[in-house]
Symmetry: C2
Subunit: 226 residues, 2 copies
């Protein structure tokens, strides 16, 4: 499903160059469940943004379902992303003027779900993450962990083929985090490919493979014991 080859992402800051990605080549098959770990600043979110088609590498290639993502024109890319990919951002990126229901329904505008069914599906997704009684709350009327769960519901609303989740349990207490992990496992069994960045070793254990990054490259890539 995913094949990257020697991804490099650099930023120029005055005289210095920050190498956020320094040659990342990974291959992820359809249906896999991969955790990405590594120190703060090691390039995990940068890699996720490239995989999500939200950012272009400075050099290197990214193939998604054999399609060269960097080569797609902007509208084809937006369409492709919306249909195939669900993204949970590290800082949620909810729209502040829309309530939870509208935030979750938004990605369905171009997708697989018929118009009359969208709000119904959005409500279901919110119930799945325990927010059935918060659907009319706007982001500022929600706790940190509730906002995170709205972001998760939104990523799953359009029935994506690939879920990219950047620290999706970071703001959740242990029990709510476990409920989200169980949801992910169920969806993975049903065929969803999952790539999850996490700092939590217990979350990483539930994935089937752990990729470790440091200073912009992959330093380890191991199967979890089943």
């Amino acid at each position: 499903l995913i094949q990257t080859s020697n991804l490099i992402k650099t930023y120029k800051m005055g005289n210095e160059t920050v190498r956020a990605l320094d040659g990342v080549s990974v291959r992820i098959e359809a249906g896999e469940y991969v955790a990405i770990m590594g120190p703060s600043g090691s390039g995990k979110s940068t890699l996720m943004n490239v995989l999500g088609g939200l950012d272009r590498p400075s050099s290197g290639e990214y193939l998604l379902e054999g399609e060269n993502v960097g080569g797609l024109p902007p509208d084809r890319l937006a369409e492709f992303r919306n249909a195939k990919i669900g993204f949970v951002f590290q800082s949620f990126n909810l729209l502040p003027r829309l309530n939870a229901l509208a935030n979750v329904a938004l990605p369905m505008t171009y997708g697989a779900v018929a118009p009359d069914k969208r709000l119904q599906r959005a409500k279901q997704m919110l119930e799945l993450v325990g927010l059935g009684d918060r659907i009319h709350h706007r982001p500022t009327q929600l706790s940190g962990g509730q906002q995170q769960r709205v972001a998760i519901a939104r990523a799953l609303a359009n029935q994506p083929a690939l879920l990219l989740a950047d620290e999706p349990t970071g703001a959740l207490d242990e029990r709510t985090g476990i409920e989200v992990m169980q949801l992910f496992e169920r969806l993975n069994k049903e065929g969803l490919t999952i790539v999850i960045v996490t700092h939590d070793a217990e979350v990483a254990q539930r994935a089937r493979r752990v990729v470790r990054m440091r200073d912009g490259h992959v330093v380890d890539d191991v199967r979890n014991a089943p």
Copy 2:
């Protein structure tokens, strides 16, 4: 240092009333190190916002150093807060147009640190949290964990008497999280009172007392074994 009595915070949402705080009475002595835990949505951030003078309760009283915080006029409150309290927000709240150095220096404008010494102190604080090589980066040029550490440096810059930290290690990998905890322990030994909201049981273990919340009230309050 801190005494709250029957704090209540409600929000009206259409016909419903959300009871974010439902009668919270806590007492925290100067020099204590208290962790607050509880499920997502249980009222932890709401309590922290009241303790930080950022939000008024719907009813109930909050005394800080014997001063009734709810009774202070706005400019006295701002002054009091700036001098006494360092706040690490759950979502960081950095100013996007200022770089890390300027973000950390900002609270010192009215404080204990002389003008020529402020940028120097800001740089020191950033070095203390491992960001010496990121001081000119703006928030969007920083990783999630780097932004969190800027927020921590900013909270400590003005040498507060009370540190209120809302999930200060949520975006940090294990090792960086430990470094922050060691910094907090050192400052606590030097007299800083610390109240930290956390979902991480290991972080809570390093505090000397753990207060648990559920549905807007305190359900447990125990000393940690030393």
